[in-house]
Amino acid sequence: MSYFRITLLRSGIGLTKRTQGVLKALGLRHRMTTVFYPVTPEVAGQIMRVKELVSVEEVEKPLTKAEVKAERTPEPGFYLEKAAPR
């Protein structure tokens, strides 16, 4: 089963209440939020309503919130090689 990965790229501020309602229904509260929904005609219709604001990808598995955050976090770029005596 595949999922839509929907990211809000442009804010819904200034759009009609109806469009903003669609974003709220999708759970997209602010820009760059990412949500996952199974691929169904209902969700496809919702995406069509806000297609100018979001980017959509089809993925195999939904990611958890923590995984999405880990994707965005840069690597530390260092590790402790030799610890001083403490």
Binding site: P74, P76, G77, F78, Y79, E81, K82, P85, R86
Partner: protein, 274 residues
């Protein structure tokens, strides 16, 4: 004396390779100022001059040809914005991290054992310890042919610079540099040796190896020693709301970790693929 300082500064500005030498020149200057007579000092100046001239005559010529700014137009080193910070005057704060590190958490074990020992650590504590050594990259992954071709040329040149990324932020350094991180690194104490393994560029005077986005970490070895923390001067900010006389003063004094970059070593092709 001043002129030597300026030459050194000029070299430093134009060519990061000569930072090591730059440190030596002011040292000579200091000595002669304090302990020796003027004649002696002049002698030393001459020696310094000839030394500088023979060593970097090409660089000087270049600097004269390239830069439109005359050397007298440059401000003295201590007035450059990066040196003019007041941080150096504040005292060092050395503290042991609150959660004492368990020896079992250090990369003396295999990755699987590490995973086991790291599991019971509570989440709040785990974020306070520095990251552990990643699994080594298998040598079977071959380097790009263009890298193979040019790497010996890069190694052959003397001093190297590297653009290391710590938490995604780049720091362009050479061996011996000290870096003041814009944050206090949790879980480290002075004397700890960190291995820096993410670099976006690695180069010498004529060659640069650019990463996509990072350079293969088998190619270089770059270590940094934690020197301690520095504190900024206390900042106060007055918070005032309209139509209300109350003023709230907020104080803040941040601490920053200082790292000293060790020698940058570039591994040869034999070391990487054997």
């Amino acid at each position: 004396m001043k002129f030597v300082g300026l030459i050194a500064l000029c070299l430093n500005r134009l060519n990061p390779d000569f930072r090591g030498q730059n440190i030596k020149l002011p040292a000579i200057e200091d000595n002669s100022d304090q302990h020796q007579g003027i004649c002696n000092a002049l002698g030393r100046l001459q020696i310094t001059f000839t030394f500088a001239f023979t060593m970097f005559s090409r660089t000087i010529r270049r600097s004269i040809l390239d830069s439109k700014i005359s050397s007298t137009a440059l401000p003295p080193t201590f007035l450059l914005p990066i040196r003019a910070r007041q941080f150096n005057s504040t005292t060092q704060h050395v503290e042991t991290p609150p959660g004492d590190l368990d020896a079992s958490q250090f990369p003396t074990k295999s990755p699987s054992q590490l995973a086991e020992s790291a599991a019971p650590v509570p989440k709040t504590l785990r974020s306070r310890i520095p990251p552990l050594a990643p699994a080594p990259i298998p040598n079977s992954i071959a380097l790009d042919p263009s890298v193979k071709e040019m790497l010996p040329l890069l190694i052959a040149q003397p001093s190297h610079y590297i653009s290391v990324h710590i938490h995604g932020k780049p720091y362009l350094v050479t061996g011996g540099d000290s870096v003041r991180l814009p944050f206090q690194m949790p879980g480290v104490i002075p004397g700890d040796v960190l291995r820096l393994n993410r670099a976006s560029a690695l180069g010498s005077r004529d060659y640069t190896l650019k990463g996509t986005p990072y350079v293969d970490e088998r190619i270089f070895e770059c270590r940094a020693t934690v020197m301690g923390t520095e504190a900024e001067p206390m900042r106060t900010k007055e918070k005032k709301k309209r139509r209300n006389r109350r003023i709230n003063t907020v104080k803040s004094k941040h601490k920053y970790t200082i790292l000293r970059i060790g020698e940058i070593k570039i591994n040869g092709l034999d070391d990487i693929e054997s």
